[in-house]
């Protein structure tokens, strides 16, 4: 993607991520995270990985975040008051994050030469056919195990979230 587009999207994602950690209301934080996820999806598409980019939008922004939204509604979270105190932790945490950012940036902006530019790739580089070829040959075992993982996740989530009979009848439809 052209450099100016990358700078714009990067700035947008950083501002949205900062919004995530700085907003007072959980729903506003969630919307900031959704914006970050969509921008990251656009970056994926710009890098040529179109399938993964759209999957990011379908799975992350379109499903997981809705789940978060439902839980925030279920818990009826209101605007969180500004937390005072614990200044030592906040100061050290900010210092530590800044140090981490500086160290990582120094590292990644001077990558070894082979990683300094993009390899030329085929025209269907990010297509679903290429991804599926990799998934069903090299990563077949991981693929099948992931499907079992999802099944276990579904069963576990339902088991955790259902009300026990002591608290009242299992919730029907709202």
């Amino acid at each position: 993607m052209p450099l100016w587009l990358f700078i714009f999207l990067a700035a947008l994602s950083i501002i949205a991520a900062a919004g995530l950690i700085l907003q007072r209301h959980p729903v506003h934080s969630l919307l900031a995270l959704v914006l970050t996820l969509i921008v990251i999806g656009i970056l994926f598409i710009g890098l040529g990985a179109t399938t993964v980019g759209f999957l990011q939008m379908i799975v992350y922004a379109g499903a997981i975040m809705i789940l978060f939204l439902f839980v925030i509604w279920l818990l009826n979270l209101q605007t969180q008051p500004l937390e005072g105190g614990r200044l030592a932790l906040k100061f050290l945490g900010a210092l530590g994050s800044a140090a981490l950012i500086a160290e990582l940036l120094v590292f990644v902006l001077h990558l070894p030469a082979p990683l300094g530019h993009n390899q030329p790739v085929a025209i269907d580089y990010g297509s679903i056919a290429r991804l599926a070829q990799g998934l069903f040959t090299s990563y077949l075992v991981a693929f099948e195990v992931t499907s079992i993982l999802l099944l276990v996740g579904v069963v576990g989530a339902v088991a955790l979230a259902r009300r026990t009979t002591a608290e009242g009848a299992p919730g029907g439809s709202p």
Binding site: L37, I40, F68, L77, L105, V108, L115, G134, G156
Partner: protein, 100 residues
């Protein structure tokens, strides 16, 4: 075209913002969302490097990371709901029964 190091830099910054969110916020849901942000920053690094090498392996790994994150989000939110039902709070400071 922005070189891969720029994408890695962005990934590093987003990751660190996620770390800051986990450290500085006390609401469990916001902590969880910061963890999702960290996972996405890592996904970005994977895709950028997969493009740099010209292979599709990075994208396959991103596929798995996304799936695992989905399962983890579902189970994690179930745990948060159970915690809320027992403790009536989602403030991480007040869930300190097992702290010294």
């Amino acid at each position: 075209m922005a070189p891969p190091s720029y994408f890695m830099g962005l990934s590093a910054i987003l990751f660190c913002i996620g770390v800051a969110g986990v450290l500085l916020r006390r609401n469990i849901i916001i902590i969880f969302m910061s963890i999702e942000l960290m996972l996405n920053a890592v996904n970005l690094a994977f895709v950028a490097l997969s493009r740099a090498w010209g292979s599709v392996d990075g994208q396959a790994i991103v596929f798995f990371v996304m799936t695992v994150a989905a399962a983890e989000a579902a189970v994690g939110l179930g745990i948060i709901l159970s915690i809320y039902r027992n403790r009536e709070t989602v403030n991480a400071d007040e869930i300190n029964l097992m702290r010294w």
